[in-house]
């Protein structure tokens, strides 16, 4: 029987958060939402600007006649903080949009094409260590790998955990700012550069 491989099979990782979600049911503009998320990820170093290597591993669009369309988009984002050779941040973002339909809305006396639907973001954040397997595959270092990873580098691990945690919440904040949901960080993400769902 064929074996199914998972990308976390041969690496050690630390889950920053098991599962965090944002869900919203209202009108919004699908393309603008996608642009905000995409641009945020590129600006923060989570993906390249070149579209053909951007880590969107799956895009499914299911058309239905009455209920509205369904979309599944998987982003498998990675970032190596400050060219670190030991730690890597992995952010898996699953978009799931249901009941997606086209509609028209009026703002500031102008008619805009928009969408209604229920977008949901499922976000999984994992801090991967020894991502290249340099320690684990080295004939000498492999004997000290566990000691270093779990004891001697512990302070580093916590520092990266805090930083990653902060970045994860900033991504969520950027999405929440677009959807005009309540936020709690001191400054809203996006610096009012991108439109929110009300084209402001």
């Amino acid at each position: 029987m064929a074996k199914v491989y998972n990308k976390y099979d041969n690496v050690d990782y630390f889950s920053i958060i098991e599962d965090t979600r944002i869900k919203h049911k209202d009108f919004f503009h699908m393309k603008n939402l996608y642009v905000v998320a995409h641009e945020w990820c590129i600006e923060e170093g989570w993906g390249p600007r070149k579209d053909w290597i951007f880590p969107e591993t799956f895009y499914m669009h299911r058309f239905t006649q009455e209920a509205g369309d369904e979309l599944w988009i998987w982003w498998r984002l990675e970032k190596i903080p400050q060219d670190n050779t030991f730690y890597k941040y992995v952010l898996d973002v699953d978009w799931h949009i249901i009941l997606l339909q086209s509609t028209e809305v009026m703002f500031n006396g102008m008619k805009f094409k928009a969408n209604t639907g229920e977008p949901e973001f499922k976000i999984y954040a994992k801090l991967v260590y020894d991502y290249d397997g340099v320690w684990k595959n080295h004939w000498f270092l492999k004997h000290f790998y566990t000691l270093f990873a779990k004891r001697i580098f512990l302070k580093d691990l916590y520092a990266h955990k805090r930083q990653f945690h902060h970045e994860l919440y900033r991504f969520k904040e950027a999405m929440k700012v677009y959807m005009k949901l309540k936020t709690y960080l001191p400054e809203p993400e996006g610096q009012k550069f991108y439109y929110n769902k009300e084209f402001n």
Binding site: G45, F112, Q191, F199
Partner: protein
């Protein structure tokens, strides 16, 4: 082996939302490339009309310059402008056509080593080049050429900020290069 393409680690990003002179900024940047002796190319020019808020444009530029027989500088500029609407403003008593839009510009670059492929042909020559880049020229590459490219791109970045009359028009490294 030391890589012969040495890109800038992080791009510089500029964002602006408001009324600005598109034509002026476009000309300023092209002129800067030409004044600095770069061969300038516009690789991409995309135009889209998506919403009543205005049209969208995406531009991709690059320019290169030979620094010496071994080194070449490459500068890349990526523009993305959303919701462009042409407006007329009165500036210094004169009517002027400007645009109201959201502007995003990304500046990046790389230092290309051995652009003439002088060190090719045998493994021995390649090994000599690697040794030279790693030990003899290491400081000149990292602290010299890479630094120079960074500050030159920074000057272009600063010129754009100055043109857009942004709040932080202050160039701390104006004396460099």
């Amino acid at each position: 082996m030391v890589s012969l393409d040495r890109p800038m680690p992080f791009p510089m990003n500029l964002k602006y939302r408001g009324v600005w002179d598109y034509e002026g900024l476009y000309q300023l940047m092209v002129q800067w490339f030409e004044d600095q002796g770069y061969e300038f190319h516009e690789r991409v020019f995309k135009h889209k009309v998506p919403s009543p808020l205005g049209f969208e444009q995406e531009l991709g530029w690059y320019g290169w310059r030979k620094v010496n027989a071994y080194v070449k500088f490459w500068i890349y500029v990526y523009w993305h402008v959303w919701d462009i609407k042409e407006v007329e403003v009165v500036k210094d008593g004169k009517k002027k056509k400007m645009v109201q839009a959201r502007l995003f510009i990304e500046f990046s670059g790389k230092v290309e080593l051995d652009w003439q492929n002088m060190f090719t042909g045998s493994k021995f020559v390649v090994a000599i080049q690697d040794w030279m880049n790693k030990y003899v020229l290491h400081k000149t590459i990292t602290g010299g050429w890479e630094d120079e490219l960074y500050y030159r791109i920074h000057k272009l970045f600063y010129s754009c900020k100055e043109f857009l009359n942004m709040e932080t028009v202050h160039n701390a490294s104006a004396h460099r290069y």
